[in-house]
Amino acid sequence: MDRRKNILLIILFLLILLAACRPVQSQIPTVDIPKVHIRLPMGYIPSVQYAPFYVAHSRGYFEQAGIDLEFDYQLETDGVALVGADDLQFALVSGEQVLLARNQGLPVVYVFAWWQDYPVAVASFTDQDILEPADLAGKKIGLPGLFGANYVGLRALLDFAGLSELDVQLDSIGFTQVDALIAGLDDSVAIYANNEPIQLKSQGYSVDVIRVADYVDLASNGLLTNEITIKENPELVERMVGAILKGLADTMADPDAAFEICKKYIEVWDQENEALYKDILLATMEYWKSDQPGISQPQTWENMQEVLLGMGWLAEPLDLDQAYTNRFVPGN
């Protein structure tokens, strides 16, 4: 009897051992999820700034969520229009684009706050002594044009300082801000705080940076979808958000590994600038830090609407509850 008991115990132990040896991936319910091809407009060129997406893709988080993800580095506005027309389900966009699009009737909804702070800033060489928004009065400020996040961020800074466009000289120079500053064509330039100042510092320049985020909290970069997708396929949105969150968490936990993964996704990778790319990734990660990753703060949307109303780009306030939602972020 004891012998039979021992044999049964051994068989039971072996079965438990066998079950424990099953691959981890098979525990994730991928079998039942039909795979969906998603083309994701990124709004910018391949960059280490997309590390969470590269990590999630490389580690199979999108695949496990039933998403066959394709990165599409097209213009932000085109991506928003395609999502609005339901030709695409998702796009990565800056906060102001959501309100501008909804103002024109595009049924788009922001579902995941990836960046917690608005990345736009004004940079100038230290000898200019431009240290706070009020110091911009009378200065020549280079920016890509009177559109997009750079312009919105700059207007927010000017508003904060009680300045108008007439108090400064705006210089539309395309995306040549770094060169314009070095060449002395402008006193300061509107840039992304996580990018151009790092480039300038790596070239030995000493720059002062006025970050919009230090003065106004504005809705920043995140994931956009549309009302049809939310209504007809909310699980897809949940799965997409879930995969991005995993990629974000992994990147924040191990930036070095994320950086290595980025190399596989960025075709034009200059070995000589690797240290610069690493610095840009680390600087960008500061904008992703949050106790509640993915959650939109209502005040940031209120502030963004206020700025756009002041610019005349919104004729009247929008229903902000329609513009963003936190319901797809786990725990909400």
Partner: protein, 271 residues
Amino acid sequence: MNENHTVKDQPISRVQSRSRWYRIFLVPISLVTALVLWDVFVKIGDFPPYIFPSPARVWDRLLVSVGDGSLLRNTLYTLVEVLVGLILGVTVATALGYLLAKSLSIERILSPYIIASQAVPIVAVAPLLIRWFGSGSFSKILICSLIVFFPVLVNTVVGLRSVPNELRDLMKSLRATRSQIFRYLEIPAALPIFLGGLRIGATLAVIGAIVGEFVGADRGLGFLINQSRGLYDTAMVFVAIMTLVAMALSLYFSVVLLEKYTLSWNQPQDQ
């Protein structure tokens, strides 16, 4: 006799009259047809206005932009860039074209560079020009000149080389001076081909200005397109594009009129 003559003439005048009416109404009819087709296309496709606006929506947007002055202000800005760029490009191209037509050695030295310069897309050069010359009008004028330069240059060279040698010899035998040969033989003979180049250049100048304004500008129709696109105001993008088309057509037909005026001796007989 008189009666016969009148009877024979009647069908001809009827045909001429029909042809005249046909010509008068052809353009408006084609325009209306295009508008109807556009409207039907939008309705059948059920396109939202931010993807493809209907003609009525574009018309409404046109009225608003005319009313607030934004369309006129930006159109004038672009038009000045186009005209100054066109004049500059044509002047330089004509002068250089004359030199190339006259001197084979200068042509051999400069041709590779001129042809190579055409292989560089203007879209790639525009950001550099804006970086070097600033974001004001001058960089856009320069882009217009560059884009106009090549067709005018080539047509100037071809036009001047098309002058028959016999006529040149005849002028010389009549003891015509170099200046007289230029004024009374070379200019009239080269003008038809030169004006052909100018037609192309005039429309290209509009493209040049827009390329410059796309890269960096805070005024002009290119800026208006860029900003409207950023605001998802697709109807305004259409208004700006159509204004550009109207501008290019006006310039083209101005050259056609110039051709009619200066080449009246060379016009084919209208049947």
